[in-house]
Symmetry: C2
């Protein structure tokens, strides 16, 4: 059995209240509800302004558990955009920059080619990220998003990339690791084994929510912890066995439900539910 | 490069025209369009009557490339139901009984437990299937269907079950193997490797269709070959490298599109598109 969930390690991924709140409001919300971590998205960050956001986050004593997101190596301007993302993550003191790597490259059905290009792109940006002190977290996305969002779809595959490009393992934290989001990986028969393989140094972020039955949309129908079928306690026990001691970040895309609620209720509920995971 | 697609190896999974045709109509449709294989679903089979269906299929010289479906070990009456499915498959001379194994067992979030129970259930029905001369084809389903339809979600996982329970490999065809449906496995980074591992004797069925972008429904939004992003030619080359020489069965669940069309047009289109795969 894992230890009791520690409220001090709860983090709000701002996507969870993206329909209701600006980043400034989300920062205030976290402070108001005693949530200590925040993971902003870059569109909201741009809206608020980087300097002002960094200042507000610092003033409220929040930890930036990740910046969402870099990656999308399928885009024409991917290198410039990822350079900006690294700068922003550095400025915010983010614990990692989350990479959603992009799906099939334009004009091809060749997954192998697309995956090779992704690995190559990560290898190109990695030295700059390392120089800036920003760890890169490859986030494997659910296989249902392989075509259009990310064709890195299992933890095993993400760790193979880390093995190929990553650190020698002697530093305290790796410059290249993974973001483990239960929504994307809960189904994987090799999940326990691959969490163990990843280990403390390479698990750079841990995202939680729930898988609803039925799921009515491939992108924006995630559930609040406890409303679905993911065995969150079991996966947390595996994460803790790997000695991960970072934040647990709540990331819920929910067109039909949570994005329509009072955001203060969302934060209250997520704190409450976290205790039961 | 694979060889040119052989029209004599095309098979119609009746789900493709399930909204329009009874089984009797589908049998006549296959005969009319020169399609040599058919894979009926059991609800339509019950509607037509087993004896009459067997007679009509034989009279038209069709090969039954699979009976859909056994499995769903999560149901209370699973053993009786699977026994009936074996009998029906035997009566039809089906090349295999397709197993959709079921998702999480009622009342649990424990995937490991559910997967153990599934393996155990297959081990119980396997001797009876072997005795009846009906090969069982485990069909790994897409991870997005893990909770409610099948928690066997990769070819690797299905083959691990075959390894644990299966034949010694000395017979010409295995009593326990897999159904490879491109829709469920196209995204898998280990697909080529696992098709090779499966080999000729354990690939009991090969199902084709396409993955649409965007996909608007988790169950009934499959595409016709050529309308999506699956590299069908490449996967066919892997299947052929494994020396699979059976039928290519078209299975398309399509609430919004193909189920609304003239079924003769559906068959014409599928024949035409098959040539391009």
């Amino acid at each position: 059995m894992p230890s009791a969930p520690d409220p001090a390690r709860l983090s709000l991924n701002t996507a969870t209240v993206k329909a209701q709140w600006s980043l400034a409001q989300a920062i205030e919300g976290c402070a108001r509800h005693g949530i200590r971590g925040i993971a902003p998205w870059r569109d909201k960050l741009a809206e608020m302004g980087l300097k002002q956001a960094a200042k507000a986050i610092k003033a409220n004593g929040l930890t930036v558990t990740g910046l969402c997101r870099g990656g999308f190596f399928t885009a024409k301007d991917w290198l410039d955009d990822n350079r900006r993302a690294i700068e922003e993550a550095h400025e915010l003191g983010a614990q990692c920059l989350v990479l959603v790597v992009g799906g099939l490259f334009p004009g091809t059905k060749d997954l192998i080619y697309s995956r090779d290009r992704i690995r190559e792109s990560i290898s190109i940006m990695l030295p700059e990220a390392r120089k800036a002190g920003v760890p890169l977290a490859i986030e494997p996305l659910h296989p249902m998003q392989a075509a259009d969002r990310a064709c890195v779809n299992t933890l095993e595959q993400a760790l193979d990339i880390c093995d190929a490009l990553g650190d020698d393992g002697r530093s305290a934290q790796c410059a290249l690791g993974v973001a483990v989001d239960v929504y994307h990986v809960w189904w994987d028969p090799k999940l326990r084994q691959q969490i163990e393989r990843a280990g403390k140094k390479r698990i750079l972020a841990y995202h939680i929510c729930d898988w609803l039955v039925p799921t009515r949309d491939l992108l924006n129908d995630r559930g609040m912890m406890g409303d679905g079928v993911i065995n969150l306690r079991l996966i947390r026990s595996w994460i803790e066995s790997a000695e991960y001691s970072g934040f647990h970040e709540v990331e819920i895309f929910s067109e039909r439900d949570w994005w329509k609620r009072d955001p203060d209720d969302v934060l209250r509920t997520m704190k409450e539910r976290y205790k039961q995971t």
